[in-house]
Structure formats: structure tokens, C-alpha cells
Symmetry: D2
Subunit: 309 residues, 4 copies
């Protein structure tokens, strides 16, 4: 066993840029600070690599926490080719896009009082019920505009929704013709709105149709890379799709708050993914443990600064 | 503010039963030990309450860790009316049911070597690739037997699979005519097998059809209770379905390794669910933080002992 | 790489004993359930091994949570030769021993109201200020009885306190003539009481004197084993003492809620301790991640049952 | 209940400064990103408040991870009046100050091989044994220079060490005449060196003498604030010292990876500290959950930028 570079004690400079800080964390090199810096190095290589198809996995309640802006910005800049999201993030993206807001709240409060005041809580974020009334109107309008008697994939359905919006993730994806996958869409407020609509509708949404589209992308990819926020369905759906191809992911960076010892996929290391072949043997990967409301902005701001200079 | 009962120092008795231990944890009453004991009290009430429809949410890699036996046992005893699972757990359930095994392994190993030896790793559990060959044969057989030119719900598809099996969760559900929901089925090896099958098939699986079935159950329920292992899609899909009814869950026990401060649903408290109306204002709820491979057997063994006496 | 034993699906038996359950977790063998079972196997061997000096490390707020009963029981049965504790656990042990109680409380409450009601909170445990008034009387009595003009070690001071008590950890240690170490005693209510006493006293307590006593025990030990609850000072003080001997620990079981990736010792694996030589190369060790109010009673009850049969 | 400000979606600007980023996290306002931003606001007020005595608590293996530079920088700038540390951090500070280095390593390695190669591991940081040989020489030199036949406090002992060094935390504290407290000094390599020295020495170090010095500071303080990294002894020793005064802390920011539900002090909220009176009723406090190798540089760089402009 050999020692690597010496740990450099961090010397902060007032007014330093985010990338300067992230590079200092890299020269210190330890624990999750070091991992974050290695994550920025890998993500920089990945977005600079023109042969690489770029996947982005979005789990956790990221949109209510203001992270939607980062995702749509990465799309606009061409750094996301394929987005896989939970239904909840897309629900909250629509809520913001139709002009409603999430609000600063508190985790130390009476949820019964909140219930009486018609406010829904997501940890320390508050969301008034009124947003869901507007959301229902919007969703029913979109669904009513769908061609009847045909079968949609979930990706197509999300594309339709995006085309009715002017801002946010779904709008940005639609505008740039980027596929958004969400295998568990039924498990969201969008799903509940669809259930309402489906009581009288003649539209079919196929549960598996998107797999072909996604796997075709995987087959066509020279190389593949993924930035994965949280775990859940998006992480697995991205990684498993490569399983049926002869390839694996060449780059993968995961930002998660879960730990591996519980056995769940959300906290599983990307090394584990190597045993399955989801990730190449020689892939560059790193997992950063922590809250993505800190690690995602830090990592992306650092890499955008590098790309910009 | 008032103090409750005094904390009793735990006095272990060699040979004591599991429920004796759990009751001692309740008299000590603190932290997650106390929460586990309150969870057992709530779960006991819930399963004894004949008016209550009993939901079970299964997330995390529980079947590879031997927890499948507990779920099918609870089904056999009539303590589960509705199961919502991740696709991964159902995949591993099928693998066990067709005669393959998961194996004791190690988390400290070379995943590249494992890859060469055709062994897939789930933290410290090993699963040889050979299991997936047998799995493919089985799944293609099942899918080939499906009626063509019709539309299935995911629940119906899982029912078909269960009827081809003799043991495990899906078999037990099929035998007892219990619905199994899995909104993100595409996100699993079952999904990948379906993609393979679908290249030549004429069967449609509807992504949203199950919502009607589940919501009908919710509307019909006098009262409702849930035991939720992990978070993810199963937790939300169970809780959200009550949103469109005038009711909320009356009992809810969650066993999770996630924490609330990251904002994600998996670690969200059941109090938060009260603000949304997913859980009744006066519902009895508790969250136990920890590894469900410890907390689930402990909680269930304790309650089975109470029911048996 | 080779697969080990097959994972056995857990089959619970209503009324089963705790050790039956722990053995089932071992046959399932995965994640922290598997680790707990291996921990019980190691701890059983350790306590049965007559050549082994048995250390116990006690960190975290374990006494307010009712875990004091387990520690004193292990002492009475001869399974602890050396205890290393935080000052807080010894403070709360004294509080219980002088007839005061900790109480069931709640973590969701107003701490300002608690302050007004003179109740101190430890997560969901409440402790009225009145206990500290009685504690002060007791401690000043004990300190006043000390020989003046001499130098005590912390272990001697704790021995004096224990001889004034009838129940609990310190009393039990004193009765059985077992050393209790607490290097950070100043960092506790006992320390604050000593500060009060020291304003007029002529007694010296040496900060380092105990090291000789502890290291002498390490040198004299044929073999050494440790059960470590939490991390902190007790974990390190136990492990570091072996560093100056030619030996390392032969058995070590750690129950902790911390994770390794943050770099801190409390979450560090016992493998890491091998690189330092604190733990033997061939030592039997395991770390169980989780809340010790669940894992400690489970592990000890399981091992006591084995020893009893 | 009322909603606060709307959550603003984060809009990153390539090349933005660290404080710009932290302020964006504040306008997003959610989870630990929001908490970090509030922490910067509180810490800014605290360091700008000339009436406030500023405490810094240093736990976790922060120096091997390069965080020593931040602490000594804060000291030089006058933002730390009192430092409370673990013994391990001071050991590693001395190691760096005498010209040895910690090195980038890996957590996925054989600790037995590391042992053979005489390398000690701290998660993914490597430290060769040779550093401890030089450390021993240095420490024995310092101890040999101590006045015999007198009693030192731990703070005085650390002051002596600092005066023999040119860089790092202890040197900087000595140069600026700042007190460094370390109640558990025996629990460290410094302690082991003292044990070696003490086999022939006639110097006494009093375990409790520092309490008077620290409590005198607390009594004299107009107002008090604390930045607490990790938990452990430093957190409690800082907070408990205020207990014997009529005051409590006015500002407190904690950066920790532990969670409250395990009951331990390291993860305890600062609200809990309000019930004890360690923190004022109206104090401004926040806890940021995460790895301090990320949160500490981010928070301090943000505040230094504000102070500089």
C-alpha cells in the first residue's frame, strides 16, 4: 500500500470562487469533501466528453428545495441528454411552472394546525393546498387535449405536459426535445390527476413502452455517464438499462444521504454496481454522502466555472 | 409540560421471549427502542382491528436479506390485505421461488473480481448470474402464456406471475387472492424481461389502471392501517391513495433508515403526512429509525406472540 | 470470490426466545441483522474465554434510556472486567441510584416551555431539575468525605462515589472491585460538582494517573476483548491503551449509530483499528450500525440465553 | 401557521463566489442547504458582535482532513476566543506542525496490509508510523522541559506544547494567548506520550483545574457564541460551562453528522440545549447535518467574504 499526495490544510480566501473552494477540498482530499471534489473532476470530464450520453437521475424532494433551477440550467446548457425523475419532482416542477410557489416553513410545528390551515409540509418547506387546485385545473386541461384512442408512453405524456408549460424542467425538456422518464409516474399527484381523468377517458398509457426508448439510447451510446441525485427509482432505472447492452456506464457520480450498510439501492456504492456490470470495470465513479441541497449546487457551480473559463 | 412514566432500567432474563424484550424496551421507553415498542403496540391494535384494511409497504432490498419469509407469513395469517412493493423485491422473490438462492457474502471485496466470477453483490449478499438465466426462462414462459390483444394492469400481471409459483410473496398473494401493487415495475429485472418479451408481443400493460383498484379499496375501507418498511414508491403510493377519499390512515408504523432532515419522503415523519391528510389527525403513528433487518423481525415476532397468546 | 451459505428466509415462531430470533437473523445473514448475529457469536466466545480480559465502552445517553440495568447485570455476572464510560452516563447512573428517575417524554415539544417547567430534555426523555438538587447534595457529601491533601486518580474518585451508592453501575463496580475509567470526567455534571467543591477544597485529581492502571491491565492480559456501545472517548481510550503493548484486541464488537464516511472515530470500522494495531490482524470483530437501545438488549439477551443453557 | 418567503429556485452563475452560493441556498431555504445559510447569517452576527465571547468546538478527525488551516486562520483573525478540542485533533495538529504529513489514501483497502506497511488509516487518509516516531521525540522533549514539582492544568500543558511549535492550531493559540481546553487529553496519543513520560516524572496535571478558568470566562462574558464542529466532549464542555452562570449561549451553530433520534449529545438539537438553559431562550441557533469537511469550509468562506467586504 502506498500513500498518495499529502493532505493540504485548507486555506480559505475571502471572496474566493466556488471552484476555488472545491479545488481546495480536493487538495485536502478527505472524507466527503474529498469525494465531492473528485466528483467535480469526474463530472467535468463527463460533460466535456462529446462521445458520452449524459444521464441525470433526480430523486428526493429536490424541486421544493429550489434545485429545479439547476436541473433546467444544465438542460439548457446541453449537459443533460436523458432525465429520469420521480413523479413528485415533476409534480412540484409543474406547480412552480404554473405560477405557484413553495414557501419557507419550519419542521418544528404542529402538523394538525397546518392541516387546519390547508398547508402541506415537506420537512421545512410549506405548500398551500391552493396550489393543488390550480394544479388540478392545469392537469385536467392537458389530459383533455390528448388524442383519444391511442397509447402513450409515459415519456410522451410528460412531453405533452411540458409543451403546455413555459418554465421549469418539463418545459425546458420539451423545448429542447429531451426525453424525461418517470417509471413510477402513477405514484405522484400527476398519477392521481390521471386517475381522475381516466374515469371518463379513452387514453392508454403503457407502463413499459419507455423501456424500448431508453434502451435504444443505451445501445446507441458510444459512452455513457450519469449524475445521480438521491437513489430510488431514477438511480436504478438509469443503471439497469445498460445491463442489456454489452456496455456499462463510463462515468457516474452519486449524491446521496443514504448509507450502504442498510442494503438498499439508494445508499449502495457505485462499486457494487460494477459487480452487476451496470458500471464499467474501469469506470470513474464516486459517491458523495450528504444533503444534495448542499452538494449538488456546490458540484455544479464548480464544474460550470471550469467549463466557462 | 409534564413527565410521563419513569424510565425503567432494562432487566434482561436469559431465555426471555421476543415480546418480553420488546415490552421491556417499552418500559424503558426511549429513542428508537421505545419507538419500536410503541410500534408493536400500534401494529397489534391494527391487526386486531377487524374494520381496518391492512396495507404493507415493502422497499429496500428486503428479500435478498431473508425478510420475504416474514411478509408471506403475515399474508398467510391474514394480516396483509394489500401489498405495495418495489420491483426489485418481487424480482428477488421470484428468484427464491424458482429454486435459486441468495448467498452470504461480504461488502469488503473486489467488485471487479465478482464481475469476473459472475456474481452480483447487494451489500454483503451475493447472487450468481446463473439465477438470472433461470429467471429469464421462467419470466418468458409466464409472459408467453398471457392472453394477447388485451390490456393488463400491473396487479393483474403480478397475479399471473404468482399463479406460476409455489412459494414466496407473489405465490402467497395469488393463493390468497391478495392484490400486489408495484407502480414502478418497469424499474426492475421483471421490467427488463418484459422489454425482451415485448419486442415481439401484443400485450399492453397499463401504467395507471391499478390506481382505480387501489383507490376503490381505500374508499371501501372502514378504517386503514399501514406497516411501511423503507420508504420510496411503496410508502408514497400507499399514503397518497387515501388523499382522494375523505379519510386518512388510522394506524401507521414506519421502519426506515432515512432521516427527515434531507427532505425526502423515505425519511419523512408520519407527522408530516398529517399535514397532507394522508394520515388522520388522531391517527396512531410511529417511525422507528434503523435497519429493517433488525426492526421488522423484532416487531413482527413480538406482535405474533401477543396474537398467539 | 465464492458464495457462502444460502440466505435463509426468516421464519418467525410466535413466542420464540430472543436467541432464537438472533440465530434466525444469522442464517438470513445480511446487513445489520446479520452483523448483529455475528456480534452475538463473537461476544459469546469472548465472555466464555477465561483468558480474555473483558472491556466495556459506554458512550451515548444510555443510562437515561434504561440501559444501565444491562451494564450492571453484565458486571454482576462477571462479564465486565473494565468499564470505560462518558461522564454523562455516570451522572445519570448516580441520579438513578440516589432515587431520582428519568421520565418518558417527547421530542416534539417546546424546549422553552420545558425550561419554564424546570424539565431538562434528552431527546424523548425528561429529567426534572429537582434531580440535580438531590444530585448536588449527594456529590458534595461524597467529595467532603475525601481525604484531603492527597492525589486521586479519576478511577479512585469514581470508586469513592460508588461506595456511597447501593444500586447502579458505580455501586456495582465498587462492590465487585471493578475499575471504572472516565478520562473526560470534567466534561459532566460530576465535573461541575467537583468545580463547586474545589473552590474550597484541597484534593487533587490527576488527569493522567489512570493511564498507568489501564495500561498495566493491558500488559497483564493474556487476551483482550471489547464490547463498545457508541464511540467517543470510551471507544478510543479502550483501543489506544493496547497500542503500547505488543498485543491488540482479540475480540471487538461495536454498536454504533455513526457511519465511517465522516472520518470520525465513533463511526470508524474496526478494520481501520487493525491498521493501527489496536485490534489484532486475526481478531474477530464486527460493527453493528443502529440504535443501541435496540441492538444492545438484543445482543446481550441472546448471549445470556446461550450462557444459561 | 403562516408561510414564509417563497422558495427561490437556485440560479448558479459560473465563477460565482462562495458567499453568493450560500446566499442562494438561503433564498432556496430548504433542508440542510437552508440551514447552512442560516448558520452563516448567525455566525456572521456572532463574529461581528464585539460583546460576544466566541467559542469553537472541534471534534471529529478534522485535522487529518485539512480543516486545521481553517481553525488557525479563524484564530489569527480574532474570531476564536476559546477553543475546546478532542485530543486526537491536537495530536494531528502537532504532527503537521513538526513537519509530518497526512496523505491521501483509500477506504477500500486491506488494513492488514496497511499494518504490515506501517501505515495507519483514518477512513481515506493514511498516516505513516514514522510520524509517530518524530511525534514521540517532540513530545518527550516538551515534557522534559516542564517545571517539576508543580501542578499544571491541561490548558497550561497545551500552552507549553504550543510554545514549542511554529504553525498550526496550538502554535497559533499560544502566539495569540488563547486558551485551548481538552478535558479528555488522556484519551489521545498526547496522553500516551504523557504516560511514557510520567513513568519517571514529577509533574502533576490536574483533571479539573481548567474548569475554573473556563467558567470564569463564562461568568465574565457579556454575551457568548459557539461554532461547534461535531459533538462529543467539546460540544458538551462548552455548553455545560454556561450552566453554572445565570446566562446561556446567545448564538450557536452546530455542524454535525449525527442525528437526534439516537439520544446522544453529538446529534442532539440545540433546541434541546434550551431546556437545560445551556442556550438562551431567545438564542439564535441552527444545526446543519452533514460532513464538516464540506459544511465548515463553506460556512467559514462565506462569512469571511462578508466580513471582508
Amino acid at each position: 500500500m502506498e500513500c498518495g499526495e499529502p493532505v493540504e490544510q485548507v486555506a480559505l480566501r475571502p471572496g474566493m470562487s466556488v471552484d476555488e473552494l472545491v479545488r481546495l477540498l480536493g487538495r485536502a482530499g478527505a472524507y466527503n469533501g474529498g469525494a465531492l471534489s473528485r466528483g467535480a473532476d469526474i463530472y467535468e470530464k463527463m460533460v466535456r466528453d462529446r462521445e458520452t450520453v449524459k444521464f441525470f437521475g433526480l430523486a428526493g424532494a429536490m424541486v421544493p428545495a429550489g434545485m429545479c433551477g439547476i436541473v433546467s440550467d444544465l438542460m439548457e446548457r446541453g449537459h443533460i441528454d436523458v432525465l429520469v425523475s420521480t413523479g413528485a419532482n415533476l409534480t412540484h416542477d409543474i406547480i412552480e411552472a404554473i405560477g405557484c410557489s413553495h414557501y419557507h416553513g419550519s419542521a418544528a410545528c404542529s402538523d394538525v394546525e397546518l392541516r387546519h390551515d390547508e398547508i402541506n409540509r415537506i420537512y421545512d418547506v410549506f405548500l398551500p393546498n391552493s396550489a393543488f387546485i390550480k394544479f388540478e385545473e392545469f392537469m385536467q386541461d392537458v389530459f383533455s387535449s390528448l388524442d383519444t384512442d391511442r397509447t402513450f408512453s409515459i415519456m410522451e405524456l410528460l412531453g405533452e405536459i411540458g409543451r403546455h408549460l413555459d418554465s421549469g424542467i418539463l418545459a425546458c425538456a420539451a423545448k429542447n426535445d429531451l426525453p424525461v422518464f418517470c417509471p413510477a409516474l402513477a405514484d405522484s399527484m400527476i398519477g392521481l390527476q390521471y386517475w381522475l381523468f381516466a374515469q371518463t377517458a379513452r387514453v392508454t398509457v403503457d407502463a413499459f413502452l419507455d423501456m424500448k426508448a431508453l434502451i435504444d439510447i443505451c445501445f446507441a451510446a458510444e459512452k455513457a455517464g450519469a449524475l445521480i441525485v438521491g437513489g430510488g427509482v431514477p438511480k436504478n432505472f438509469i443503471l439497469q438499462s445498460m445491463l442489456v447492452t454489452p456496455k456499462g456506464f463510463d462515468y457516474a457520480v452519486q449524491l446521496t444521504g443514504d448509507r450502504p450498510d442498510l442494503g438498499g439501492l439508494s445508499g449502495a456504492t457505485l462499486d457494487e454496481a460494477r459487480s452487476w456490470g451496470k458500471v464499467c470495470e474501469e469506470a470513474q465513479t464516486v459517491t458523495v454522502y450528504g444533503d444534495a441541497t448542499i452538494t449538488l449546487p456546490l458540484l455544479v457551480a464548480s464544474v460550470l466555472e471550469r467549463l466557462d473559463s
